[in-house]
């Protein structure tokens, strides 16, 4: 089916989310819809899936105008959505999850016909090359497979147009590759695919056609053959973007963080960090690579006082730190950009200013006789918002209403507002757009150049290779190798990430 959106406009109070956007995708074509967070991608897809009604503009399917009053009508029209956050019931198995809502029935009572359902799912997965075990429970499946179940769900509802919203955000590099194979296969079979992302390399790898959105409007159209990552980034952001951080040579000096024989337990009591020893020196960035769940989270939590150290020592400039509270560690000169900013890094429902002073509010400049000094807080936040280019209507805006990039900038501004000797940044750019990634990387490198020691933990190989002066790889709680930037090739690090040390 050919899908065309013509001059879609959607106004929200204070925001023109979609401004006369026109896009189209042909039968069997893959359209890459590229844009930063807040560019209007999600609004557009919500209109397409019947969640919102456009203020003006048309949706045409095979040339015929369609109006979707609710998601059910969009599904009937053959539009299938795979959301960024999966909508699956953990205790259901794959068959049940796929047919849920359209179950085949048998008998006079219309009871669930499991055998038919299973057969349909098996056939569907064979036909499209989506390998899943129809009897596996959802909760036991890795995210990559869960995503396949979501895609199967859409196909089961006879979707001819498949919309994938930021599908690679939760996947490992290998899983992403597999997803691309699936998308190519589906397109070959005649399904039209809209692939929403902010990752440049992905659209180039998988799309037939690329439409770039910026600030609610179409900023340009191109094809992967004509496009380069730099050009796409420029279209997306509206100015030239440096995709790789320019770094001067590091001036490595005395060690700042020294970790010796560190053991840390996970919530279940198992050993998450196993006899880890390393050090980070002033003026260098140590990047820790590894597939998610190999002890990086626990390592960072232990270093920042959020998790008890089972045994071993941590020292900051020779002073022991392994028994410190989060506050003591922060006040000793450690900046911590947490892995999950929604959970740990900020408090939605509080203002930008309140989040800016979240861990310094007790210092004398902000708090006197048990009262907050609102003038000083406002002044400091105003300055930080300016220095870190945080786009917010005011410092009294709820941080939850800002884009992810701006939220992260508030967190980074807060963490760098203290005297920083060590920066611990866990997944500092997860879920951010190109412009924000560039900005945050630059700020982290600035800290290094100012003489801080920097520990970056990331599952994104690109980030690790771009920033690390040295690269450590974690596998099953151990550090299986520490390489200099020169030796750290994609292949070598990739092998270490898989636990292969030769």
């Amino acid at each position: 089916m050919r899908l065309e959106l013509q001059k879609i406009t959607k106004q929200f109070p204070g925001v023109l989310a979609n401004d006369r956007i026109s896009i189209s995708v042909d039968k069997g074509q893959v359209l890459g819809l590229l844009g930063e967070n807040g560019a209007g991608k999600t609004t557009l897809m919500n209109i397409l899936s019947g969640l919102y009604r456009p203020d003006s503009g048309k949706i045409l399917i095979d040339g015929k105008e369609r109006i979707f009053r609710d998601p059910a009508q969009a599904i009937d029209a053959g539009i299938g959505m795979v959301h960024q956050h999966f909508m699956l019931v953990p205790v259901f198995d794959v068959t049940e999850s796929v047919v849920l809502g359209n179950e085949p029935t048998k008998g006079p009572l219309g009871s669930f016909d499991r055998a038919t359902a299973r057969a349909q799912v098996v056939e569907l997965s064979k036909k499209h090359g989506l390998h899943v075990d129809p009897d596996a429970k959802i909760e036991s499946l890795p995210v990559g497979v869960r995503q396949r179940v979501e895609i199967l769900k859409a196909l089961y509802r006879k979707s001819d147009i498949l919309v994938l919203d930021e599908p690679s955000a939760v996947l490992t590099p290998q899983e992403t590759e597999e997803l691309f194979d699936i998308i190519r296969g589906l397109a070959k079979g005649g399904t039209s695919v809209i692939f929403i992302t902010h990752k440049l390399n992905e659209v180039i790898a998988v799309a037939d056609k690329i439409t770039v959105l910026r600030r609610g409007a179409v900023a340009g159209e191109t094809t992967p053959k004509k496009a380069t990552a730099a050009k796409l980034a420029e279209m997306m952001v509206g100015r030239e973007v440096q995709l790789t951080v320019s770094r001067s040579k590091s001036h490595v000096a005395e060690p700042i963080l020294q970790v010796k024989g560190l053991n840390v337990l996970n919530d279940a009591g198992g050993r998450a960090v196993n006899d880890v020893t390393f050090e980070v020196r002033s003026g260098e960035i140590l990047a820790v690579a590894g597939v998610q769940g190999n002890g990086q989270t626990e390592l960072v939590e232990a270093l920042t006082g959020l998790r008890l150290v089972d045994s071993g020592t941590v020292a900051l400039e020779k002073k022991p730190l392994h028994a410190g509270s989060p506050r003591e560690i922060a006040m000793a000169g450690v900046a911590h950009i947490p892995e999950d900013r929604n959970r740990d890094g900020m408090i939605k429902g509080m203002t930008v200013a309140e989040n800016y002073i979240l861990n310094t509010y007790h210092l004398p400049q902000y708090s006197k006789n048990g009262l907050l000094n609102r003038k000083a807080i406002a002044a400091a936040t105003e300055q930080a918002v300016k220095d870190f280019d945080v786009r917010t209507p005011s410092i009294n805006t709820d941080i939850g209403s800002l884009s992810g990039g701006n939220q992260q900038k508030v967190i980074v501004a807060r963490e760098f507002s203290r005297n920083v000797r060590l920066v611990i940044a866990a997944q500092p750019t997860r879920g951010l757009d190109v412009g924000s990634i560039e900005y945050i990387h630059r700020r982290i490198v600035e800290q290094r150049d100012a003489g801080a020691a920097v520990l970056i933990v990331s599952t994104e190989l690109d980030e690790v290779l771009a920033l690390g002066d040295r690269v450590a790889v974690m596998y099953e709680g151990r550090i299986v190798g520490i390489l200099d930037a020169k030796q750290a090739t994609r292949e070598r690090v990739g092998l270490l990430m898989g636990g292969i040390t030769k």
Binding site: D70, D76, P326, R327, A330, I347, E354, L358, H362, R374
Partner: protein, 398 residues
């Protein structure tokens, strides 16, 4: 103008909820009237107009009970300052405010806990123990033992302590061993009531002679809270002033103080509060102490000032109504005060409605419950504002 608009947006849902709840309540009055139901088949128009008439009479009684009778007020205006006439004209409104005083206190108390993410539903127990503290202070220090102003201060202090102590226990248990505050506070509500029963039936210096009923001595003999109105027979005392001051203090504490910042942070996101180095244990215990102290202060002032007697059932339904008030008021002190006043009006108006029309006061509980249901579903409530006749069509599958 902008501020006005903002205010309008804030009160839109509560105001609409109350109106719709009253409307549904009217329907309920019409269709639970046996005479109306009996005539519905033979003479539907007559029966319905009878029912609507009855509902109108009931609501008119509710209104007069809440605000006062316009005719009496008219008379008072013409009476050249006759105190008796004025007293009669103003009594309903004053009594409505009196009814809202305990609601303000306990509403504020539980709001502080809610803001910290603790579901303290022990407002009734903390209020009761505050009443115990206030009563004991009145008995020990009143009747000339200490000067009157000091005795009043001691009543308030003991009320604070009684409520805080009762809230400390569940707070401590939650912080230390993770005991659910919902369970512990609810159980402590019962214990508080029974404890009062024990006190007022076993101690001569507490129980009212001739020691037949389980109630305390008349407390006005010991401590008399000064009234704030020029007409002595209207019983509005300094309790309402203290309540309003407490609201200001709570607002100031939550939004201006360092501790308040910590409590709000813990309430909104405990993980981030820990990340920021705030102690979760201290937050929980502090919030519970403050929460209980405020409810306890209310208990002491109501026992000594309004009821002038301690009895096992002193809290009545205050505990649960206050939870509703805290939620309807958005756990904001100003919202809590406003909602408590509305609920006070409903409560006192409802008693006149019961006397005059025989419609039970439970009707008001029904209306209050509806208000809460509508507030809990703002989308539904706002949907009523929009065009109710817009049809939503759903595609039929297959």
């Amino acid at each position: 103008m902008n501020a006005l608009k903002k205010f309008g947006l804030k009160v839109r849902v509560p105001a609409l909820s109350i109106s719709v709840a009253l409307l549904v309540g009217a329907l309920f009055i019409v269709f639970t009237d046996l005479e109306v139901l009996g005539g519905l088949l033979s003479d539907p128009i007559g029966a319905l107009s009878l029912g609507i008439g009855r509902a109108a009479v009931a609501y008119s009684a509710l209104f007069r009970g809440a605000f006062g009778d316009p005719a009496t007020i008219q008379k008072a205006l013409e009476s050249n300052g006759d105190i008796l006439v004025w007293a009669r004209a103003l009594r309903p409104l004053v009594e409505s405010v009196v009814a809202s005083v305990p609601l303000i206190f306990v509403g504020l108390g539980v709001s502080v806990a809610f803001r910290t993410g603790i579901f303290n539903i022990g407002g009734a127990g903390q209020f009761t123990m505050g009443a115990v503290g206030g009563t004991l202070a009145a008995l020990f220090f009143g009747a000339g033992v200490t000067p009157a102003p000091i005795a009043i201060l001691l009543v308030m202090l003991f009320g604070l302590i009684g409520g805080a102590a009762w809230a400390f226990l569940p707070g401590f248990l939650k912080a230390r061993v993770g005991a659910s505050e919902v369970i512990t506070t609810i159980m402590l509500n019962f214990i508080a009531g029974q404890f009062v029963f024990f006190l007022v039936s076993n101690f001569e210096f507490i129980q009212k002679p001739p020691r037949i009923q389980p109630v305390s001595k008349e407390l006005s003999q010991f401590v008399d809270l000064p009234g704030i109105l020029p007409i002595a027979s209207l019983r509005l005392d300094i309790g309402i002033i203290v309540a309003l001051l407490t609201a200001v203090a709570v607002s100031w504490f939550l939004f201006r103080s360092t501790r308040g910042f910590e409590l709000r942070a813990a309430g909104l996101n405990i993980a981030a509060a820990k990340y920021a180095g705030m102690g979760a244990t201290t937050s929980i215990i502090t919030a519970m102490l403050i929460s209980g102290a405020i409810s306890g202060l209310g208990g002491a002032l109501v026992a000594v000032g309004t009821v002038k007697q301690l009895s096992p059932g002193i809290a009545g339904s205050v505990g649960f109504t206050a939870i509703a008030i805290a939620l309807v008021g958005g756990t904001r002190p100003s919202g809590v005060v406003a909602t408590a006043l509305v609920f006070g009006l409903l409560q006192h108006g409802g008693s006149l409605m019961q006397v005059q029309t025989g419609i039970p006061i439970e009707m008001l509980l029904f209306i209050q419950a509806l208000v809460i249901a509508f507030i809990a579903a703002p989308e539904l409530t706002l949907g009523i504002l929009k065009n109710p006749f817009r049809r939503r069509t759903r595609a039929v599958s297959k």
